[in-house]
């Protein structure tokens, strides 16, 4: 197991460098960002040159990348165009997005898995058909529609929530945005769990467990669920990264100043320092989440451990 983890950790190194280099190149392809800093007029050449030197934009791209990576390892992610340290931006943005992601994941796990188990055990019954229909609706409606609709109904018409999240972004403010963010994945998890549970409930080992006279609850939680959750865990694991990076739409609708917002600003202003910095961290999150999934796999299914 330890060796397995170490091998996986080593594999992360080339992925990390490859991903950051790609992002770096992509942002650079977008062109010279300095021109946008002076608004609707040309920067005077001397100031533009100084700004370019300050942000290291006057060097060749490969050298910029090397300098950048060198700095990253000392914890210096550079400065955004508005004069703030990128680490400072991360310090304010990541906690907010992590809270939002956690809320979303909790919704996915709690609602998604319970509905999945419920319908999986009662397949073909009205409850099953009803939930399946509901998930279909949720999957087919884009997030921004659900988001705007909930915002309008709960925020403006009924006044239950505030339409915009304050800069503190406390957990209770994030419940509705979290639900919106989770909605599509939640529907997938329901369907995934349902299929898996339905399939496994006919398996031999479940029949054996029932025949042994184990209480139903124990059969479901120890025998059925443990095996049925493997694909679900994979999905949730990869989804954590997707949720953090893909929160742009939700964050924009509910005015959440998280990672999505900073990335959006960074891209609009072509601030490579911001974009590369944030994406680097997101890549790390992605890799770690995947590693965690693989380890969980091994825990859930001992056969994988020795493979």
């Amino acid at each position: 197991m330890g060796r397995y983890v170490i091998r996986r950790l080593l594999q992360m190194i080339p992925v990390f460098f490859g991903a950051t280099l790609l992002i770096f190149l992509m942002v650079n392809v977008m062109g010279d960002p300095i021109a946008g800093l002076c608004g609707d007029r040309e920067c005077d050449p001397a100031t533009a040159a100084r700004l370019r030197a300050e942000f290291g934009l006057d060097e060749p791209v490969w050298q910029q990348y090397l300098t950048y990576m060198g700095n990253v390892f000392t914890g210096d992610f550079g400065t955004a165009f508005n004069g703030q340290k990128v680490t400072e931006l991360m310090g304010t943005a990541f906690p907010v997005t992590i809270r939002l992601t956690l809320v979303a994941v909790v919704f996915e796990v709690v609602i998604g898995i319970s509905l999945g188990v419920l319908t999986g055990l009662r397949r073909g019954r009205p409850a099953d058909t009803g939930v399946l229909l509901m998930t279909l609706v949720v999957i087919s409606i884009p997030t921004f529609v659900t988001g705007l609709l909930l915002q309008l109904l709960l925020g403006v018409k009924w006044g239950i929530i505030k339409p915009a999240v304050s800069s503190d972004a406390t957990v209770d403010e994030l419940l509705v945005p979290g639900l919106v963010l989770a909605s599509v994945s939640l529907a997938y998890i329901t369907r995934l769990t349902r299929t898996s549970v339905a399939e496994n409930s006919r398996a031999d080992y479940v029949r054996t467990a029932v025949a042994k006279g184990l209480p139903r609850r124990r059969v479901v939680s120890r025998h059925l669920l443990r095996n049925s959750l493997i694909p679900v865990v994979t999905f949730i694991g990869t989804d954590v990264g997707a949720l953090m990076g893909g929160a742009i739409v939700t964050e924009r609708i509910f005015n959440i100043h998280g990672v999505g917002y900073q990335l959006y600003q960074g891209i609009l202003r072509q601030s490579s320092q911001t974009v590369v910095g944030f994406v680097t961290v997101l890549v790390l999150v992605f890799l770690l989440a995947n590693l965690l999934v693989d380890i969980l796999y091994a825990v859930l299914d001992p056969r994988i451990r020795y493979a």
Partner: protein, 540 residues
């Protein structure tokens, strides 16, 4: 019993989630008593007077600073604020005397040195100030801010402190209306605290205006409170202003209709249809010093050829401005008939007859003129715009439709979107424009000079199309040397006629400022820069 624990855990999580929902949304809207909450956009650059060149940063500076002059929020006229008098004999050397009794909110006195130090800071190359060129008329600018290489002087030679309350300014050329430019935020005074601990100042700016900064979370919110001992005549009539950064104006609009926000100073285009029904007379739409034009790449020989002015005039006549402003902008913009803005008013040089027939929709004549001028270079007109902000795509499509219909050719005009504003600007700076492109001008100060010289003078800072005309340059020089303001305006108008005859850029429409507010506040108005006059707002 292990299964039971899991079930309990799930139940608890659900209960917590539900309980938390019940707690959420219980807080009341709005801020502290007498405080106005207002929408804000994240300033692009660090908040320093000479480094702020867009509206969002500018609105903060307008609350925190008072300069020598201030533009009247209603008329736009430059009126003395800290200046007691500004004397000149030759329109080139000025003696500025400042009023007694002004202090910064940290107690420091505002002296002549506060201005001279601030201006020297703003002009110096090493400080990377985006607005440095505002000091370009002052003698010695080429030493502290050379086009290439290092600065050879620390301070502007044209600035001299005479005593506590007087300083002199020497300009490189005659510029009779120069004192009227001094209301621009870049000319604000700075306290010693700014120079002593720059980082601390940026974290919590200190100025001499009617408000002080209570707290500032960069990129997120800024709370300003009334400064009780503010010595000026325009004291704040509310307890303070809380600015909240919105990632999307639509969210701000939703927050306004839900009663959580008091003031939104830029109603999104998509809500213009609903805004009158939602807000009634709490929606304001007033002229602002913004004019939208189509500029041409004169560095491209095909656009600079003889006879092209006919094509450009023809294109101008092919655009149905009235229809576009009515349908796409819901009458919140006005078809332009000159290259300035209505906020200048007649005496300031605005003239809505100046463009004349060349700005009237006349498809038949348009088709004829374009044919006479030799047709559109390359056969297809590509209008370049940035697709990330504003609703540029909508109007570019509409303009193209209008041109296509007038010329009777479906392929005469297409839009050419560029992804981001930064990329758009860098393509302009690199002179890569293949055809006409979107150009907007928001005035720095309400002078006709500001609508013409930076945009059309040879190699001027915002002359993106690189248009050049000796006749125009000569008239502008003469206008600047003219000591009688009325005569200067007349000369500028002559110069504007050169722009018209050549159709250097096609004027499209004057943009209005638009704002909506809640029933919690009153006395809301926009100044000619489309910024709310915050200090006048009262809380009911």
């Amino acid at each position: 019993m292990r299964g039971a624990t899991r079930a309990t855990w799930m139940a608890c999580a659900l209960a917590v989630a539900l309980a938390a929902t019940a707690c959420g949304g219980g807080d009341s809207g709005g801020g502290a008593a007498g405080v106005v909450s207002s929408s804000w956009g994240d300033p692009h650059n660090p908040l320093e007077p000479s480094n702020t060149n867009e509206v969002q940063g500018g609105k903060v500076l307008d609350m925190l600073f008072r300069g020598l002059k201030r533009y009247d929020p209603k008329t736009g006229e430059a009126k003395d604020m800290l200046a007691e008098k500004i004397d000149t004999a030759d329109s080139r050397s000025f003696t500025v005397t400042i009023k007694d009794g002004w202090t910064f909110s940290n107690g420091e006195k505002v002296t002549a040195k506060s201005f001279v130090d601030a201006w020297n800071y703003g002009a110096h190359l090493k400080n990377n100030q985006r607005n440095a060129y505002f000091f370009g008329y002052i003698e010695g600018y080429d030493k502290v801010h050379p086009e290439k290489g290092e600065a050879t002087a620390e301070t502007l030679s044209g600035l001299r402190v005479k005593d506590q309350r007087t300083f002199t300014v020497k300009l490189t050329q005659k510029f009779s209306t120069w004192p009227e430019t001094l209301g621009y935020a870049a000319f604000a005074p700075l306290p010693r605290a700014f120079f002593d601990d720059h980082d601390a100042w940026l974290a919590k700016p200190v100025g001499n205006g009617p408000y002080t900064v209570d707290s500032y979370v960069k990129g997120s919110r800024m709370s300003m409170r009334k400064w009780e001992r503010y010595p000026g005549p325009d004291k704040a009539r509310n307890g303070g202003v809380d600015l909240t950064v919105y990632t999307d104006n639509n969210t701000a609009y939703t927050d306004l209709t839900a009663g959580n926000l008091d003031l939104l100073d830029d109603v999104p285009a998509s809500q213009l249809k609903n805004v009158r029904a939602d807000l009634g007379d709490r929606y304001i739409n007033t002229p602002a010093g913004i004019v939208q034009t189509l500029a041409f790449p004169y560095y491209d020989e095909r656009w600079n050829a003889d006879g092209m002015e006919k094509v450009r005039t023809g294109l101008s006549m092919a655009i149905n401005r009235q229809q576009i402003t009515d349908t796409i902008f819901q009458k919140t913009r006005t078809p332009a008939h000159d290259w300035t803005s209505p906020v200048l008013r007649q005496e300031g040089g605005f003239d809505d007859t100046l463009c004349g027939k060349a700005c009237d929709f006349d498809p038949a004549r348009a088709k004829k003129l374009v044919a006479e001028g030799g047709g559109i270079p390359g056969g297809t007109l590509r209008i370049t715009f940035n697709a990330d902000t504003g609703s540029h795509r909508e109007w570019v499509d509409a303009v193209c439709n209008s041109i296509n219909n007038a010329l009777g050719n479906d392929r005469a005009c297409t839009g050419a979107p560029v992804g981001t504003f930064a990329d758009y600007r860098s393509q302009i700076v690199d002179r890569k424009m293949a055809g006409p492109f979107r150009a907007g001008w928001q005035m720095d100060y309400p002078l006709i000079q500001n609508f013409l010289q930076p945009l059309y003078y040879t190699n001027a800072s915002s002359n993106d199309g690189k248009w050049s005309s000796e006749k125009f340059d000569k008239l502008v020089d003469e206008a600047n040397a003219e000591s009688d303001p009325a005569k200067a305006v007349g000369k500028f108008r002559e110069a504007e006629k050169v722009v018209r005859d050549e159709m250097a850029a096609i004027p499209l429409w004057y943009q209005n400022g638009s704002a909506g507010y809640s029933d919690r506040i009153s006395n809301v108005a926009l100044n000619p820069f489309s910024v709310p006059v915050y200090n006048e707002i009262t809380v009911n």
